[in-house]
């Protein structure tokens, strides 16, 4: 039952990721990505990570992609149009690279994980113990936690400065 849900949600996520790649209109790309990320959040819940699932929806689908949408709508970014002098070599090289990489990647991953010693599986109710997760953040990973907040501050200031209009001399 969990496997079926995971597979369906995962398939949804992958499908809409491909839809995102195929869409010409940037706003529609972003929206298909919203659906994809939502599917991923369901996958995370199936993998006993409900906190990360909800963080994914709040931060990724609900904030980052909204930011993308704002930028696209306010700048009125146009659709991707047919190029006047296309360079087919780009597409050929790109596709070949992807296919080669896919073969190697999937081949490696198909064999992975077989040597993990059998653990007591992450029981979903135990993994829903968010205070235990929180304790990790504030003990082992405290420095990283605080550093990330400084990083976010730097990013906010940087984004603000970069996006300012140039002052006419």
């Amino acid at each position: 039952m969990e496997r079926l849900t995971f597979d369906l949600a995962g398939a949804l996520a992958v499908l809409f990721a491909f839809v995102m790649v195929a869409q010409k209109h940037p706003v529609k790309s972003v929206l298909s990505l919203v659906v994809s990320f939502f599917g991923l959040a369901v996958c995370y819940v199936m993998l006993s990570a409900p906190f990360i699932a909800v963080i994914q929806v709040i931060v990724y689908a609900g904030a980052i992609l909204v930011l993308f949408l704002f930028v696209l709508m306010l700048l009125n970014v146009p659709q991707e149009t047919r190029e006047k002098d296309p360079r087919p070599i780009q597409r050929w090289l790109g596709s070949t690279a992807i296919i080669v990489f896919a073969v190697v990647f999937v081949g490696v991953l198909a064999r992975s994980g077989a040597d993990i010693p059998p653990h007591a599986p992450f029981d979903r109710t135990a993994a829903a113990d968010i205070p235990a997760l929180a304790r990790r953040f504030f003990s082992d990973y405290l420095f990283a936690f605080e550093a990330v907040s400084v990083l976010l501050l730097a990013a906010v200031v940087g984004a603000f400065l970069l996006a300012q209009k140039e002052k006419k001399p």
Binding site: V14, M20, F122, Y141, V148, A155
Partner: protein
């Protein structure tokens, strides 16, 4: 097996997502689309991290993914600011045309 979900499934979904992101990054010509494809690749990595964390029975996977999401947010903000500033300058979003540094 993580509460009913075999690790193989997790890795295959992660691989498929990564390939979707990779093809987007290599085959699209719009800066925003490339950026979105990179976000998809990061999510594929997140899924693999959570999968392994759950398979190994630790919280490390979730902790790492939390940080990755936070950093992705920072990166998206800065990247979009760069995009906005670029778009204002060049009035085009085709990455083939943004070639001022070419010699």
């Amino acid at each position: 097996m993580i509460g009913g979900v075999p690790l193989f499934d997790v890795l295959m979904v992660s691989a498929a997502l990564f390939l979707a992101g990779l093809s987007g990054a290599l085959l699209r010509r719009t800066a925003i689309a490339i950026f979105l494809a990179v976000e998809v690749m990061m999510n594929a990595a997140n899924l693999a991290l959570i999968g392994y964390g759950a398979a190994l029975g630790t919280y490390e996977g979730q902790v790492l993914v939390f940080f990755v999401i936070a950093i992705a947010a920072a990166e998206a903000a800065v990247g979009l600011a760069v995009f906005v500033s670029l778009f204002r300058h060049t009035e085009t979003i085709d990455v083939n045309k943004i070639n001022l540094l070419k010699w």
